[in-house]
Protein backbone atom coordinates (compact mmCIF):
# COMPACT_ATOMS: atom_id res chain seq x y z
CA UNK A 1 0.00 0.00 0.00
CA UNK A 2 2.69 2.50 0.95
CA UNK A 3 5.51 3.36 -1.41
CA UNK A 4 8.30 0.91 -0.50
CA UNK A 5 10.99 3.31 -1.66
CA UNK A 6 10.00 5.75 1.07
CA UNK A 7 11.03 3.33 3.82
CA UNK A 8 8.27 4.50 6.13
CA UNK A 9 7.92 3.14 9.65
CA UNK A 10 6.70 -0.45 9.49
CA UNK A 11 4.35 -0.04 12.44
CA UNK A 12 2.90 3.13 10.94
CA UNK A 13 -0.71 1.97 11.15
CA UNK A 14 -0.37 -0.01 14.37
CA UNK A 15 -1.27 1.08 17.85
CA UNK A 16 2.36 0.88 18.90
CA UNK A 17 3.46 3.58 16.42
CA UNK A 18 6.02 5.76 18.16
CA UNK A 19 4.73 9.19 19.19
CA UNK A 20 7.19 12.09 19.51
CA UNK A 21 7.04 15.86 18.98
CA UNK A 22 8.73 17.24 15.84
CA UNK A 23 10.74 19.70 17.95
CA UNK A 24 12.70 16.75 19.41
CA UNK A 25 14.25 16.25 16.00
CA UNK A 26 15.28 19.91 15.95
CA UNK A 27 17.08 19.54 19.27
CA UNK A 28 18.87 16.40 18.13
CA UNK A 29 19.96 17.98 14.87
CA UNK A 30 21.31 21.07 16.62
CA UNK A 31 23.58 18.95 18.79
CA UNK A 32 24.78 17.05 15.71
CA UNK A 33 25.39 20.31 13.91
CA UNK A 34 27.19 21.76 16.91
CA UNK A 35 29.63 18.87 16.70
CA UNK A 36 30.13 18.91 12.96
CA UNK A 37 30.14 22.65 12.30
CA UNK A 38 31.87 25.17 14.59
CA UNK A 39 30.00 28.03 12.90
CA UNK A 40 26.59 26.90 14.06
CA UNK A 41 25.23 29.08 16.88
CA UNK A 42 21.84 29.05 18.58
CA UNK A 43 19.73 31.92 19.92
CA UNK A 44 16.79 31.39 22.22
CA UNK A 45 14.05 33.80 23.23
CA UNK A 46 13.57 32.59 26.80
CA UNK A 47 12.15 29.31 25.47
CA UNK A 48 15.16 27.04 25.61
CA UNK A 49 13.57 23.90 26.99
CA UNK A 50 10.38 23.98 24.98
CA UNK A 51 12.18 24.68 21.71
CA UNK A 52 14.54 21.80 22.56
CA UNK A 53 17.66 23.92 22.36
CA UNK A 54 18.89 23.04 25.84
CA UNK A 55 20.95 20.11 24.55
CA UNK A 56 22.96 22.48 22.38
CA UNK A 57 23.18 24.96 25.23
CA UNK A 58 24.76 22.43 27.56
CA UNK A 59 27.18 21.04 25.01
CA UNK A 60 28.21 24.31 23.42
CA UNK A 61 27.60 27.07 25.97
CA UNK A 62 29.88 29.58 24.23
CA UNK A 63 27.85 29.25 21.02
CA UNK A 64 24.48 29.55 22.69
CA UNK A 65 22.95 33.01 23.17
CA UNK A 66 20.07 33.63 25.52
CA UNK A 67 18.28 36.60 23.98
CA UNK A 68 15.42 37.09 26.39
CA UNK A 69 11.96 38.18 25.39
CA UNK A 70 12.94 40.45 22.50
CA UNK A 71 12.20 38.58 19.31
CA UNK A 72 12.67 41.53 16.97
CA UNK A 73 16.14 42.11 18.34
CA UNK A 74 16.88 38.39 18.26
CA UNK A 75 16.23 38.21 14.53
CA UNK A 76 18.50 41.21 13.94
CA UNK A 77 21.27 39.77 16.10
CA UNK A 78 21.06 36.51 14.17
CA UNK A 79 21.44 38.41 10.91
CA UNK A 80 24.51 40.19 12.26
CA UNK A 81 26.03 36.89 13.34
CA UNK A 82 25.47 35.44 9.88
CA UNK A 83 27.19 38.41 8.26
CA UNK A 84 30.38 37.53 10.09
CA UNK A 85 30.23 33.89 9.00
CA UNK A 86 28.09 32.19 11.63
CA UNK A 87 25.07 29.98 10.94
CA UNK A 88 22.55 31.13 13.53
CA UNK A 89 19.46 29.13 14.48
CA UNK A 90 16.79 31.30 16.10
CA UNK A 91 14.46 29.45 18.45
CA UNK A 92 11.15 30.72 19.72
CA UNK A 93 7.46 30.12 19.06
CA UNK A 94 6.00 30.64 15.62
CA UNK A 95 3.61 33.16 17.15
CA UNK A 96 6.62 35.45 17.69
CA UNK A 97 8.95 34.48 14.86
CA UNK A 98 7.61 35.23 12.32
CA UNK A 99 4.53 36.66 14.11
CA UNK A 100 6.15 39.39 16.15
CA UNK A 101 9.20 40.06 14.02
CA UNK A 102 7.93 40.10 10.46
CA UNK A 103 9.50 43.42 9.47
CA UNK A 104 12.86 42.33 10.87
CA UNK A 105 12.56 39.07 8.94
CA UNK A 106 11.57 40.88 5.79
CA UNK A 107 14.44 43.37 5.86
CA UNK A 108 17.24 42.18 8.14
CA UNK A 109 16.87 38.53 7.14
CA UNK A 110 15.18 38.42 3.73
CA UNK A 111 16.29 41.52 1.86
CA UNK A 112 19.77 41.15 3.33
CA UNK A 113 19.75 37.53 2.15
CA UNK A 114 21.13 36.57 5.56
CA UNK A 115 22.14 33.01 6.20
CA UNK A 116 19.78 32.69 9.19
CA UNK A 117 17.67 29.71 10.18
CA UNK A 118 14.44 30.77 11.83
CA UNK A 119 12.41 28.22 13.68
CA UNK A 120 8.82 28.57 14.69
CA UNK A 121 8.02 26.09 17.42
CA UNK A 122 4.56 25.37 18.84
CA UNK A 123 2.98 26.24 15.51
CA UNK A 124 -0.60 25.25 14.79
CA UNK A 125 -3.71 24.62 16.77
CA UNK A 126 -2.30 21.45 18.33
CA UNK A 127 -0.56 23.70 20.87
CA UNK A 128 -3.84 23.03 22.62
CA UNK A 129 -4.67 24.44 26.06
CA UNK A 130 -2.62 27.66 25.65
CA UNK A 131 -5.36 28.90 23.35
CA UNK A 132 -5.56 31.15 20.32
CA UNK A 133 -2.74 33.58 21.18
CA UNK A 134 -0.22 30.77 20.91
CA UNK A 135 -1.81 28.84 18.06
CA UNK A 136 0.05 30.31 15.13
CA UNK A 137 -1.87 29.51 11.95
CA UNK A 138 -0.53 32.25 9.68
CA UNK A 139 3.23 31.72 9.70
CA UNK A 140 3.57 29.79 6.45
CA UNK A 141 1.54 32.42 4.61
CA UNK A 142 3.77 35.20 5.95
CA UNK A 143 7.01 33.44 5.26
CA UNK A 144 6.30 32.13 1.81
CA UNK A 145 5.64 35.60 0.45
CA UNK A 146 9.24 36.59 1.11
CA UNK A 147 11.56 36.32 -1.90
CA UNK A 148 14.40 33.86 -1.34
CA UNK A 149 12.93 32.36 1.82
CA UNK A 150 12.88 28.57 2.13
CA UNK A 151 9.85 27.32 4.08
CA UNK A 152 9.66 23.83 5.54
CA UNK A 153 6.97 22.13 7.64
CA UNK A 154 8.25 18.64 8.48
CA UNK A 155 5.89 15.83 9.42
CA UNK A 156 7.66 14.10 12.30
CA UNK A 157 10.73 13.99 14.51
CA UNK A 158 13.04 12.29 12.03
CA UNK A 159 12.06 14.51 9.15
CA UNK A 160 12.59 17.57 11.33
CA UNK A 161 16.06 16.32 12.20
CA UNK A 162 16.94 15.93 8.53
CA UNK A 163 15.39 19.27 7.60
CA UNK A 164 17.39 21.05 10.30
CA UNK A 165 20.67 19.52 9.15
CA UNK A 166 19.90 20.37 5.54
CA UNK A 167 18.88 23.90 6.46
CA UNK A 168 22.33 24.46 7.94
CA UNK A 169 23.92 23.43 4.67
CA UNK A 170 21.68 25.60 2.53
CA UNK A 171 22.92 29.15 1.94
CA UNK A 172 20.22 31.74 2.69
CA UNK A 173 17.30 32.28 5.05
CA UNK A 174 15.19 29.28 6.03
CA UNK A 175 12.02 28.96 8.08
CA UNK A 176 11.41 25.66 9.88
CA UNK A 177 8.10 24.96 11.55
CA UNK A 178 7.43 22.54 14.39
CA UNK A 179 4.54 21.56 16.60
CA UNK A 180 4.29 21.05 20.32
CA UNK A 181 2.24 17.88 20.44
CA UNK A 182 3.46 14.34 19.93
CA UNK A 183 2.76 13.00 16.44
CA UNK A 184 3.28 9.54 14.94
CA UNK A 185 6.72 8.75 13.59
CA UNK A 186 5.91 8.26 9.93
CA UNK A 187 9.40 8.35 8.46
CA UNK A 188 12.61 6.55 9.35
CA UNK A 189 16.32 7.31 9.07
CA UNK A 190 16.25 5.67 5.63
CA UNK A 191 13.39 7.79 4.26
CA UNK A 192 14.78 10.11 1.60
CA UNK A 193 14.68 13.83 2.35
CA UNK A 194 15.70 16.73 0.21
CA UNK A 195 14.58 20.32 0.67
CA UNK A 196 12.26 21.19 -2.21
CA UNK A 197 11.65 17.57 -3.22
CA UNK A 198 8.24 16.18 -2.28
CA UNK A 199 7.85 12.51 -1.36
CA UNK A 200 5.08 10.33 -2.76
CA UNK A 201 4.31 8.21 0.28
CA UNK A 202 1.41 6.27 -1.22
CA UNK A 203 0.44 5.91 -4.86
CA UNK A 204 -3.08 6.22 -6.19
CA UNK A 205 -5.01 7.63 -9.11
CA UNK A 206 -8.34 8.94 -7.80
CA UNK A 207 -7.32 11.91 -5.68
CA UNK A 208 -3.93 13.32 -4.68
CA UNK A 209 -3.69 14.41 -1.04
CA UNK A 210 -0.94 16.98 -0.73
CA UNK A 211 -0.10 17.33 2.96
CA UNK A 212 2.60 18.49 5.31
CA UNK A 213 3.30 18.63 9.04
CA UNK A 214 1.05 16.50 11.25
CA UNK A 215 -1.53 16.23 8.47
CA UNK A 216 0.75 13.81 6.62
CA UNK A 217 -0.13 11.07 9.06
CA UNK A 218 -3.82 12.00 8.89
CA UNK A 219 -3.66 11.82 5.10
CA UNK A 220 -2.11 8.36 5.18
CA UNK A 221 -4.70 7.23 7.67
CA UNK A 222 -7.53 8.59 5.51
CA UNK A 223 -6.06 7.02 2.37
CA UNK A 224 -5.86 3.66 4.10
CA UNK A 225 -9.54 3.81 5.07
CA UNK A 226 -10.61 5.00 1.61
CA UNK A 227 -8.76 2.13 -0.03
CA UNK A 228 -11.09 -0.29 1.71
CA UNK A 229 -13.93 1.44 -0.12
CA UNK A 230 -12.15 1.25 -3.43
CA UNK A 231 -10.94 4.85 -3.57
CA UNK A 232 -7.24 5.09 -4.33
CA UNK A 233 -5.52 8.23 -3.08
CA UNK A 234 -2.01 9.34 -3.77
CA UNK A 235 -0.43 10.84 -0.65
CA UNK A 236 2.28 13.42 -1.20
CA UNK A 237 4.39 14.78 1.67
CA UNK A 238 4.99 18.38 0.57
CA UNK A 239 7.32 19.24 3.47
CA UNK A 240 8.81 22.18 1.60
CA UNK A 241 6.22 24.85 0.85
CA UNK A 242 8.84 27.07 -0.75
CA UNK A 243 10.36 26.33 -3.15
CA UNK A 244 7.40 24.15 -4.04
CA UNK A 245 8.09 20.90 -5.90
CA UNK A 246 6.13 21.84 -9.01
CA UNK A 247 7.11 18.73 -10.96
CA UNK A 248 5.75 16.30 -8.40
CA UNK A 249 2.67 18.42 -7.82
CA UNK A 250 1.76 18.67 -11.48
CA UNK A 251 2.43 14.96 -11.94
CA UNK A 252 0.04 14.19 -9.06
CA UNK A 253 -2.65 16.52 -10.39
CA UNK A 254 -2.41 15.09 -13.90
CA UNK A 255 -2.53 11.53 -12.70
CA UNK A 256 -5.41 11.97 -10.25
CA UNK A 257 -7.36 14.85 -11.74
CA UNK A 258 -8.28 16.19 -8.29
CA UNK A 259 -6.33 17.29 -5.22
CA UNK A 260 -6.83 17.85 -1.52
CA UNK A 261 -4.39 20.00 0.40
CA UNK A 262 -4.05 19.28 4.09
CA UNK A 263 -2.16 21.41 6.60
CA UNK A 264 -2.36 22.73 10.14
CA UNK A 265 -2.58 26.35 9.02
CA UNK A 266 -5.12 28.87 7.77
CA UNK A 267 -6.66 27.78 4.51
CA UNK A 268 -5.64 31.10 3.02
CA UNK A 269 -2.04 31.58 2.05
CA UNK A 270 -0.44 28.35 3.18
CA UNK A 271 0.24 25.08 1.39
CA UNK A 272 -3.28 25.11 -0.04
CA UNK A 273 -2.71 28.53 -1.51
CA UNK A 274 0.68 27.57 -2.89
CA UNK A 275 -0.76 24.46 -4.55
CA UNK A 276 -3.74 26.34 -5.98
CA UNK A 277 -1.50 29.07 -7.43
CA UNK A 278 0.73 26.49 -9.03
CA UNK A 279 -2.01 24.29 -10.45
CA UNK A 280 -3.98 27.25 -11.76
CA UNK A 281 -1.01 28.03 -13.96
CA UNK A 282 0.02 24.51 -14.88
CA UNK A 283 -2.82 22.06 -14.65
CA UNK A 284 -6.05 23.25 -13.01
CA UNK A 285 -8.04 20.49 -11.28
CA UNK A 286 -10.75 20.55 -8.60
CA UNK A 287 -9.17 21.19 -5.20
CA UNK A 288 -10.49 20.98 -1.64
CA UNK A 289 -8.70 22.58 1.28
CA UNK A 290 -8.12 21.02 4.66
CA UNK A 291 -6.93 23.65 7.12
CA UNK A 292 -8.12 26.28 9.55
CA UNK A 293 -11.36 27.76 8.17
CA UNK A 294 -10.56 31.49 8.58
CA UNK A 295 -10.87 31.41 12.33
CA UNK A 296 -8.85 31.88 15.53
CA UNK A 297 -8.40 28.85 17.73
CA UNK A 298 -9.34 28.21 21.36
CA UNK A 299 -8.25 26.10 24.33
CA UNK A 300 -8.70 22.38 24.28
CA UNK A 301 -6.88 19.11 23.79
CA UNK A 302 -5.01 18.95 20.47
CA UNK A 303 -7.17 16.10 19.19
CA UNK A 304 -10.40 17.87 20.14
CA UNK A 305 -9.30 20.98 18.32
CA UNK A 306 -8.06 19.19 15.23
CA UNK A 307 -11.42 17.44 14.97
CA UNK A 308 -13.49 20.56 15.62
CA UNK A 309 -11.69 22.65 13.00
CA UNK A 310 -11.60 19.87 10.42
CA UNK A 311 -7.94 18.94 10.34
CA UNK A 312 -8.19 15.18 10.83
CA UNK A 313 -8.43 12.04 8.73
CA UNK A 314 -12.21 12.17 9.10
CA UNK A 315 -12.30 15.60 7.49
CA UNK A 316 -9.91 14.45 4.77
CA UNK A 317 -12.20 11.54 3.90
CA UNK A 318 -15.15 13.92 3.55
CA UNK A 319 -13.10 16.25 1.38
CA UNK A 320 -12.02 13.35 -0.84
CA UNK A 321 -15.65 12.38 -1.43
CA UNK A 322 -16.51 15.96 -2.26
CA UNK A 323 -13.67 16.44 -4.68
CA UNK A 324 -14.41 13.16 -6.42
CA UNK A 325 -17.99 14.34 -6.94
CA UNK A 326 -16.69 17.61 -8.37
CA UNK A 327 -14.32 15.74 -10.63
CA UNK A 328 -17.17 13.56 -11.90
CA UNK A 329 -19.55 16.46 -12.51
CA UNK A 330 -16.73 18.27 -14.26
CA UNK A 331 -16.36 15.32 -16.61
CA UNK A 332 -20.08 15.15 -17.32
CA UNK A 333 -20.13 18.89 -17.89
CA UNK A 334 -17.21 18.67 -20.27
CA UNK A 335 -18.90 15.77 -22.02
CA UNK A 336 -22.09 17.74 -22.56
CA UNK A 337 -20.15 20.60 -24.07
Amino acid sequence: MVNEAMKLAENLFNNDVKMTPTRDGYGEALVELGESNPNVVVLSGDLTESTRTEGFKHKFPDRFYEMGICEQNMVGVACGLSMVGKIPFVATYAAFVPGRAFDQIRISAGYNRSNVKLSGAHAGISVGPDGATHQMMEDIALMRTLPGMTVIAPCDREETRKATIEAANLEGPVYLRFGRDKVPEVTTKETPFKIGKANILMDGSDVAIIANGPLVYEALDAAKTLRRNGVYCMVVNMHTVKPLDVTTLVYAARKCGAVITAEEHQITGGLGGAVAETLARNNPVPQEFIGMPDSYGESGKPRELMEKYGMSSTAIIEAVKKVIARKASGRIFAGVL
Binding site: G80, L81, I107, N112
Partner: protein, 283 residues
Protein backbone atom coordinates in the same frame (compact mmCIF):
# COMPACT_ATOMS: atom_id res chain seq x y z
CA UNK B 1 46.40 66.33 19.82
CA UNK B 2 45.13 66.39 16.23
CA UNK B 3 47.22 68.54 13.92
CA UNK B 4 45.62 71.65 12.49
CA UNK B 5 46.34 70.53 8.95
CA UNK B 6 44.70 67.17 9.57
CA UNK B 7 41.58 68.71 11.06
CA UNK B 8 41.38 71.14 8.15
CA UNK B 9 41.65 68.29 5.69
CA UNK B 10 38.73 66.55 7.37
CA UNK B 11 36.75 69.78 7.37
CA UNK B 12 37.41 70.10 3.68
CA UNK B 13 36.23 66.53 3.19
CA UNK B 14 33.03 67.30 5.08
CA UNK B 15 32.48 70.33 2.89
CA UNK B 16 32.98 68.28 -0.28
CA UNK B 17 30.66 65.56 0.97
CA UNK B 18 27.99 68.16 1.77
CA UNK B 19 28.26 69.57 -1.70
CA UNK B 20 27.91 66.16 -3.31
CA UNK B 21 24.93 65.29 -1.13
CA UNK B 22 23.14 68.43 -2.24
CA UNK B 23 23.99 67.86 -5.88
CA UNK B 24 22.86 64.25 -5.90
CA UNK B 25 19.62 65.11 -4.12
CA UNK B 26 18.88 67.85 -6.60
CA UNK B 27 19.52 65.35 -9.38
CA UNK B 28 17.37 62.64 -7.80
CA UNK B 29 14.48 65.06 -7.09
CA UNK B 30 13.57 62.98 -4.05
CA UNK B 31 15.40 61.87 -0.94
CA UNK B 32 16.38 63.03 2.52
CA UNK B 33 18.34 66.25 2.83
CA UNK B 34 18.12 67.24 6.50
CA UNK B 35 19.34 64.07 8.18
CA UNK B 36 21.99 63.52 5.53
CA UNK B 37 23.51 66.92 6.17
CA UNK B 38 23.44 66.59 9.94
CA UNK B 39 25.46 63.37 9.84
CA UNK B 40 28.25 64.53 7.52
CA UNK B 41 30.96 65.10 10.13
CA UNK B 42 30.15 61.76 11.77
CA UNK B 43 30.59 59.89 8.49
CA UNK B 44 33.69 61.89 7.57
CA UNK B 45 35.28 61.10 10.92
CA UNK B 46 34.45 57.39 10.55
CA UNK B 47 35.50 56.88 6.93
CA UNK B 48 38.50 59.23 6.80
CA UNK B 49 39.83 58.89 10.29
CA UNK B 50 38.54 56.22 12.60
CA UNK B 51 37.48 53.07 10.78
CA UNK B 52 39.81 50.44 9.38
CA UNK B 53 38.53 49.65 5.92
CA UNK B 54 39.84 48.94 2.47
CA UNK B 55 38.00 50.26 -0.57
CA UNK B 56 40.21 48.07 -2.79
CA UNK B 57 38.97 45.02 -0.90
CA UNK B 58 35.57 45.77 0.66
CA UNK B 59 35.32 42.26 2.14
CA UNK B 60 38.68 42.52 3.93
CA UNK B 61 38.15 40.60 7.15
CA UNK B 62 40.18 43.04 9.22
CA UNK B 63 37.73 45.85 8.55
CA UNK B 64 35.55 47.68 11.02
CA UNK B 65 31.86 47.47 10.23
CA UNK B 66 29.55 50.42 9.73
CA UNK B 67 25.79 49.99 9.90
CA UNK B 68 23.56 52.80 8.79
CA UNK B 69 20.50 52.09 10.87
CA UNK B 70 18.77 55.26 9.71
CA UNK B 71 18.94 54.13 6.12
CA UNK B 72 17.16 57.15 4.68
CA UNK B 73 20.33 59.26 5.02
CA UNK B 74 22.16 57.04 2.54
CA UNK B 75 23.07 60.04 0.36
CA UNK B 76 25.61 60.91 3.05
CA UNK B 77 26.90 57.34 3.24
CA UNK B 78 27.05 56.91 -0.54
CA UNK B 79 29.08 60.08 -0.80
CA UNK B 80 31.49 58.97 1.94
CA UNK B 81 31.89 55.64 0.13
CA UNK B 82 32.48 57.29 -3.24
CA UNK B 83 35.05 59.66 -1.76
CA UNK B 84 36.74 56.67 -0.11
CA UNK B 85 37.06 55.04 -3.52
CA UNK B 86 34.47 52.25 -3.39
CA UNK B 87 32.93 53.44 -6.64
CA UNK B 88 33.27 56.47 -8.94
CA UNK B 89 31.98 59.81 -7.69
CA UNK B 90 30.19 60.11 -11.05
CA UNK B 91 27.82 57.37 -9.98
CA UNK B 92 26.34 59.58 -7.25
CA UNK B 93 24.26 61.14 -10.02
CA UNK B 94 22.32 57.90 -10.37
CA UNK B 95 20.82 58.04 -6.87
CA UNK B 96 17.29 56.59 -6.86
CA UNK B 97 17.25 56.13 -10.62
CA UNK B 98 16.06 53.00 -12.38
CA UNK B 99 18.86 50.43 -12.55
CA UNK B 100 21.13 52.31 -10.13
CA UNK B 101 23.26 50.64 -7.50
CA UNK B 102 22.39 53.60 -5.30
CA UNK B 103 18.96 52.51 -4.14
CA UNK B 104 16.63 54.94 -2.37
CA UNK B 105 17.50 53.10 0.82
CA UNK B 106 20.77 51.17 0.89
CA UNK B 107 20.95 47.59 -0.37
CA UNK B 108 24.26 45.95 0.43
CA UNK B 109 23.95 43.29 -2.26
CA UNK B 110 24.08 46.02 -4.89
CA UNK B 111 26.87 48.32 -3.79
CA UNK B 112 30.41 47.59 -2.55
CA UNK B 113 31.17 49.12 0.83
CA UNK B 114 27.70 48.65 2.28
CA UNK B 115 27.41 46.11 5.10
CA UNK B 116 23.63 45.83 5.37
CA UNK B 117 20.38 46.89 3.81
CA UNK B 118 18.30 49.31 5.85
CA UNK B 119 15.36 51.67 5.63
CA UNK B 120 12.99 50.25 8.17
CA UNK B 121 14.08 52.18 11.25
CA UNK B 122 15.13 50.51 14.46
CA UNK B 123 16.88 47.41 13.16
CA UNK B 124 20.54 48.38 12.85
CA UNK B 125 21.72 48.10 16.42
CA UNK B 126 20.50 44.50 16.69
CA UNK B 127 22.45 43.59 13.57
CA UNK B 128 25.49 45.40 14.99
CA UNK B 129 25.17 43.30 18.13
CA UNK B 130 25.13 40.11 16.09
CA UNK B 131 28.30 41.12 14.25
CA UNK B 132 29.95 42.10 17.52
CA UNK B 133 29.03 38.77 19.12
CA UNK B 134 30.46 36.87 16.16
CA UNK B 135 33.67 38.94 16.29
CA UNK B 136 34.01 38.23 20.02
CA UNK B 137 33.43 34.52 19.40
CA UNK B 138 36.24 34.61 16.83
CA UNK B 139 38.41 36.71 19.21
CA UNK B 140 38.81 39.40 16.59
CA UNK B 141 39.49 43.08 17.34
CA UNK B 142 37.27 44.62 14.63
CA UNK B 143 34.79 47.22 15.82
CA UNK B 144 31.18 47.78 14.81
CA UNK B 145 29.75 51.28 14.39
CA UNK B 146 26.06 52.00 14.09
CA UNK B 147 24.48 55.35 13.22
CA UNK B 148 21.04 55.98 14.72
CA UNK B 149 18.57 58.83 14.37
CA UNK B 150 17.13 60.50 17.45
CA UNK B 151 13.59 59.93 16.18
CA UNK B 152 14.57 56.35 15.45
CA UNK B 153 15.20 55.85 19.17
CA UNK B 154 11.42 55.75 19.61
CA UNK B 155 11.49 52.24 18.15
CA UNK B 156 11.23 49.61 20.88
CA UNK B 157 13.73 47.37 19.13
CA UNK B 158 16.48 49.93 19.77
CA UNK B 159 16.09 49.42 23.49
CA UNK B 160 15.93 45.65 23.15
CA UNK B 161 19.22 45.96 21.33
CA UNK B 162 20.64 48.40 23.90
CA UNK B 163 19.90 45.87 26.63
CA UNK B 164 21.57 43.15 24.59
CA UNK B 165 24.82 45.05 23.88
CA UNK B 166 25.19 45.81 27.58
CA UNK B 167 24.19 42.32 28.68
CA UNK B 168 26.93 40.79 26.54
CA UNK B 169 29.46 43.52 27.39
CA UNK B 170 29.94 44.37 23.74
CA UNK B 171 32.72 46.95 24.04
CA UNK B 172 33.32 46.47 20.31
CA UNK B 173 30.01 48.20 19.61
CA UNK B 174 29.85 51.96 19.21
CA UNK B 175 26.43 53.48 18.59
CA UNK B 176 26.24 57.07 17.42
CA UNK B 177 23.05 59.07 17.80
CA UNK B 178 22.62 61.90 15.32
CA UNK B 179 20.82 64.09 17.84
CA UNK B 180 19.42 66.75 15.52
CA UNK B 181 16.19 67.14 17.52
CA UNK B 182 13.92 66.74 14.50
CA UNK B 183 11.99 63.94 12.88
CA UNK B 184 9.32 64.12 10.16
CA UNK B 185 6.40 65.52 12.10
CA UNK B 186 8.44 68.05 14.03
CA UNK B 187 10.63 68.21 17.11
CA UNK B 188 11.38 64.84 18.66
CA UNK B 189 10.42 66.15 22.08
CA UNK B 190 7.00 67.11 20.75
CA UNK B 191 6.36 64.00 18.68
CA UNK B 192 7.44 61.47 21.33
CA UNK B 193 10.00 62.70 23.79
CA UNK B 194 13.23 60.77 24.34
CA UNK B 195 14.56 63.07 27.04
CA UNK B 196 16.63 62.54 29.23
CA UNK B 197 18.73 60.72 26.68
CA UNK B 198 22.08 60.51 28.43
CA UNK B 199 20.44 59.09 31.52
CA UNK B 200 18.55 56.55 29.42
CA UNK B 201 21.72 55.11 27.91
CA UNK B 202 23.52 55.27 31.26
CA UNK B 203 20.71 53.35 32.90
CA UNK B 204 20.97 50.74 30.14
CA UNK B 205 24.57 50.32 31.29
CA UNK B 206 26.38 51.96 28.40
CA UNK B 207 29.39 54.26 28.35
CA UNK B 208 28.02 57.60 27.17
CA UNK B 209 30.03 60.22 25.33
CA UNK B 210 28.65 63.55 24.17
CA UNK B 211 30.06 65.67 21.41
CA UNK B 212 29.30 68.46 18.98
CA UNK B 213 28.39 66.25 16.05
CA UNK B 214 29.01 68.96 13.49
CA UNK B 215 32.50 69.73 14.77
CA UNK B 216 35.03 67.32 13.36
CA UNK B 217 37.48 67.62 16.25
CA UNK B 218 34.76 67.00 18.76
CA UNK B 219 33.55 63.93 16.84
CA UNK B 220 36.97 62.31 16.44
CA UNK B 221 37.76 62.96 20.09
CA UNK B 222 34.55 61.18 21.09
CA UNK B 223 35.30 58.27 18.74
CA UNK B 224 38.81 57.89 20.15
CA UNK B 225 37.48 58.04 23.65
CA UNK B 226 34.81 55.43 22.92
CA UNK B 227 37.25 52.95 21.40
CA UNK B 228 39.28 52.87 24.61
CA UNK B 229 36.32 51.84 26.73
CA UNK B 230 36.19 48.29 27.99
CA UNK B 231 33.50 45.86 29.13
CA UNK B 232 30.55 48.02 28.11
CA UNK B 233 29.27 49.30 24.77
CA UNK B 234 29.69 52.98 23.98
CA UNK B 235 27.21 55.45 22.65
CA UNK B 236 28.16 58.84 21.27
CA UNK B 237 25.37 61.36 21.57
CA UNK B 238 26.28 63.68 18.73
CA UNK B 239 24.52 67.02 19.06
CA UNK B 240 23.86 68.17 15.52
CA UNK B 241 21.74 70.51 13.46
CA UNK B 242 19.39 69.03 10.91
CA UNK B 243 20.16 70.47 7.48
CA UNK B 244 23.58 71.63 8.73
CA UNK B 245 25.52 73.91 6.43
CA UNK B 246 22.64 75.35 4.44
CA UNK B 247 21.02 78.31 6.18
CA UNK B 248 17.51 77.78 4.83
CA UNK B 249 17.54 74.07 5.65
CA UNK B 250 18.95 74.28 9.16
CA UNK B 251 16.53 73.18 11.86
CA UNK B 252 13.53 73.15 9.50
CA UNK B 253 11.48 69.96 9.65
CA UNK B 254 10.19 70.42 6.08
CA UNK B 255 13.67 69.71 4.76
CA UNK B 256 13.62 66.17 6.15
CA UNK B 257 12.44 64.64 2.91
CA UNK B 258 12.69 67.52 0.48
CA UNK B 259 15.35 68.14 -2.14
CA UNK B 260 16.74 71.42 -3.43
CA UNK B 261 15.61 72.93 -6.73
CA UNK B 262 18.40 74.02 -9.11
CA UNK B 263 18.18 77.58 -7.72
CA UNK B 264 18.20 76.40 -4.15
CA UNK B 265 21.19 74.19 -4.93
CA UNK B 266 23.13 77.12 -6.27
CA UNK B 267 22.35 79.12 -3.18
CA UNK B 268 23.26 76.19 -0.93
CA UNK B 269 26.57 75.53 -2.68
CA UNK B 270 27.55 79.18 -2.43
CA UNK B 271 27.17 78.90 1.34
CA UNK B 272 29.53 75.92 1.38
CA UNK B 273 32.10 77.96 -0.51
CA UNK B 274 32.04 80.43 2.31
CA UNK B 275 32.79 77.78 4.90
CA UNK B 276 35.93 76.28 3.42
CA UNK B 277 37.87 76.16 0.20
CA UNK B 278 35.77 76.13 -2.93
CA UNK B 279 33.56 73.09 -3.51
CA UNK B 280 33.95 71.88 -7.06
CA UNK B 281 30.54 70.93 -8.45
CA UNK B 282 30.20 68.35 -11.19
CA UNK B 283 29.48 69.59 -14.64
Amino acid sequence: MYSKAFVEALEQKSCDIRGDILMMLKEAKSGHSGGSLSSVEILTALYFYKMKHNPMNPDWDGRDYFILSKGHVCPALYTALAHSGYFPREELKTLRKFGSRLQGHPHWLKLPGLETSSGSLGQGLSVANGMALALKLDKKPNRVYCLLGDGELQEGQIWEAAMTSAHYGLDNVCAIVDYNNLEIDGYVEEVMGIHPLVEKWLSFNWHVHECDGNDITSVIRALDHASQMKRKPSVIIAHTTKGKGVSFMEDVDLWHGKTPSPEQLEQALSQLDGACSVFKPWN
